[in-house]
Amino acid sequence: MPEQPGRNAIEVRGVRKVFGIGESQVAALDTVSVSIRENEFFTLLGPSGCGKTTLLRLIAGFDFPSAGEILLHGQDIAPLPPFKRPVNTVFQNYALFPHMTVAENIGFGLEMLGKPKTEVKARVAEMLKLVKMEALSNRRTSQISGGQQQRVALARALAPQPKVLLLDEPLSALDFKLRKEMQIELKRLQHETGITFIFVTHDQEEALTMSDRIAVMSSGKILQIGTPWDIYDKPAERFVADFIGETNFLTAAISGMGNGKARATLKSGVTIDATVAEGFQPKDNATVVVRPEHAKLTSGKGDLSGTVENIVYFGTDTHIHVRLDSSEAFTVRQQNTRSAGCGFELGDRVGISIGNDAAQILRD
């Protein structure tokens, strides 16, 4: 879709980043283009080494692109040093200054911008309140907990009122409960400040719950950009479906293409309807994906049949791993109830029925 350039906080156009020289060159980013809208919570999601942090560092100005442009509100910032960009970063390990107090850390950016002392003081107080750290303003950063350091890092990056806030896996060092709390906290802060957030993570669940839009990256390329719903339910290719959530992959013979749909004949001989990913022209054989929660286990006959191999209890639901007769693996997720077990035992012969509209044909 065409977008007005003024409405985009960040526009990355054909950016390449190559590390090393000569034959040992590695392309960390391979011609990446993405537009990030104003006030958006945008997430770069991918496994480690996919180039997401490189892209973030290029936007922050710690590295410079080998080719391409980076626009901030329509202005090319690629050649500017980091201290001339109205963009701030929350670092992975926070990178708080150990020789300063909490308040001094938060005020550092404003001080460097040459703001008058009274203004710095007022803004620091405001920030301390925003992240609920008023009581600890005179502590050294080594004397506060990880979650508190996280809040200080956020306050420090937000204090100069950047146009864009970059967050480099900021929650990865926190334990599970604190991480959940901070996810909500981050959404609140983004809502209250109205600043564009660009969030880097390898945690797909974090990305799904927090983002307005997600860009899934792999080996220096952006594979898909979309809302969490798009990414989860309409993955563009196999890698995206595999990386986000759990997925079953089946090989099928394709026939009767048309209208974004196709008929897929599974190895069990059963033919089902499947959606074809946008812009994909499958040949004779292709991968069909089915999410575990979109399939149902029956004790009778289904679209597929097999033997129960493993049952894993997760509290809210149970994952039942089935070995299909075609020797492929298939997992079904079944909601739990309080009164009864899952109703199946190891070694049971079972059928699997795939719901309408559950199957998709994806590019490998």
Partner: protein, 306 residues
């Protein structure tokens, strides 16, 4: 039967005894090697000089008085003399300058090494330590070869027609500063490197990210973080520089004496061991007082970081 408390008490006593026994070798060495000779120097400073050096075992405060006074050779009256004090002052000044110069040259050097890839760093550090392999005297004579009137610098400048007369560099404070800075530079670079290597360079990036330019990052982030290295390096350079002997002797000549040379003079040609001893102890006292002030003020500014 001994009660449980008695057994525990005995065990504790045994452990304390064991600890003393284990630390005894170190304590004996400290006592013999450090305190012993120092005590002898203190005693010598209160004795009478012998005719051919050495001391006569007769109490006298002349050694100490001579540090700041001079006895008139005709009527034996004591008068204030600043000859020794001016050498003290000169030594302190030159040592301070040496510290500043080694810091100015050593800081970028250490920063350069610390920012190299890990494998390259060892090579650079190795290069820094190479001068230690050569005798100090030989290195000092090498500098003399470079800066003397018929030396490399003057020869080249005259051949190029830039100057017609050689520039007098030997036996000046300039020569002394060149020599001292050269000799003590590694002692500054190594501790600076040790604390720079520990810097998390993401803090530098955080500084840039928060609108600090290069100079501000240096002043507000890097220097506070390497403060322990600056303190250690300054101490390692200033103290031996204060007592430097070879470099001022070879490059500074007899006019530009430093404390080390003055003390040597008393034990050699001067044949005044008590005065030499008194000067040595004064030097030690000055170093200790200076150190106390320095460490205290550095500690206050640096806070708990380190």
């Amino acid at each position: 039967m001994a009660s449980a408390e008695e057994v525990a008490e005995q065990a504790e006593r045994r452990e304390i005894r064991g600890r003393w026994l284990l630390s005894a070798p170190a304590l004996i060495i400290i006592l013999l090697a450090a305190t012993g000779p120092l005590l002898i120097v203190v005693i010598y400073s209160f004795l009478t000089p012998g005719p051919y050096g050495d001391v006569v075992w007769k109490f006298s405060t002349d050694g100490w008085l001579s540090v700041v006074m001079q006895r008139d050779i005709f009527d034996d009256t004591l008068a204030f003399a600043d000859a020794h004090l001016s050498i003290f002052w000169r030594s302190a000044k030159l040592s301070f300058l040496t510290t500043i110069f080694t810091l100015l040259f050593g800081f970028p050097t250490a920063y350069f090494i610390a920012t190299r890839p890990a494998r390259q760093r060892d090579i650079w550090l190795f290069l820094i330590t190479i001068p230690f392999w050569t005798n100090l005297l030989i290195r000092t004579f090498a500098i003399q070869e470079v800066i003397r009137n018929e030396g490399i610098v003057n020869t080249v400048l005259i051949k190029l027609g830039i100057i017609s007369q050689p520039i007098q560099m030997m036996f000046t404070d300039f020569a002394l500063m060149v020599g001292m800075t050269y000799v003590y530079l590694p002692l500054m670079v190594l501790p600076l490197y040790a604390s720079m290597e520990k810097i998390d360079f993401r803090l530098v990036e955080a500084g840039y990210d928060l609108y600090a330019n290069r100079f501000q990052v240096l002043r507000r982030v890097i220097i506070p973080l390497v403060k322990p290295g600056i303190v250690a390096g300054s101490i390692l350079v200033f103290i031996p520089a204060l007592g430097a002997y070879v470099t001022p002797r070879v490059l500074g000549g007899t006019k530009n004496m430093m404390l080390g040379n003055l003390i040597e003079l008393q034990f050699g040609q001067g044949r005044n061991w008590p005065l030499g001893s008194a000067l040595s102890i004064s030097l030690m006292a000055i170093v200790m007082v200076a150190l106390l002030f320095y460490v205290r003020s550095a500690g206050r500014q640096g806070g708990t970081h380190g």
